[in-house]
Symmetry: C2
Subunit: 99 residues, 2 copies
């Protein structure tokens, strides 16, 4: 029940840096390139989730493989696109079965 801890945005950039091995500079840059989307505290401080930790580790690996940020973003977008289509497909199937 509830969003489960994994998606709660509660991690500061300092700890995020420790957990991923990335520099704060890199983490902020990947945000600029639309690869991660932290929340902000009232004061403007960044807050990440454990899901973001996984995402950043993933990004770090792709960067090591020589991939560029815009390619990674394209790939991510494709993923959620596929998920959207699958979801729509399932809803559709369920709807048909209803009648």
């Amino acid at each position: 029940m509830s969003l489960d801890y994994k998606d709660k945005k509660v991690i500061g950039i300092g700890i995020m840096s420790e957990l991923t091995g990335l520099s704060e500079r890199q983490i902020r840059y990947y945000e600029e390139r639309k690869l991660v989307f932290p929340e902000r505290s009232k004061g403007g401080t960044r807050k990440y989730s454990f899901a973001d930790v996984e995402r950043l580790v993933d990004i770090a690996n792709k960067m090591e493989d020589g991939m560029q940020t815009f390619e990674i973003r394209k790939q991510e977008m494709k993923k959620s696109d596929v998920r959207d289509k699958m979801l729509r497909g399932q809803l559709n199937a369920a709807f048909k079965m209803r009648k």
Copy 2:
């Protein structure tokens, strides 16, 4: 695999305060009374886990019921004591079965 997110100490006291509804003063005081055990960053800043969030909410409830910090600590100690005994009992049983 790994300690799972629940026990990773990654939450600052500010967010902890938001998540539990307790003031930072209260959270620090419960630490002084040995009810929570945050880790510290190099700089000395406190870091909590989601398990700590649950623990603090639990403590908050007991405080509302008029319980005092030392009673809560006693209760907690009894709990881990029971767990220890059960664990020892199981190890013992397993050992006997071996021979």
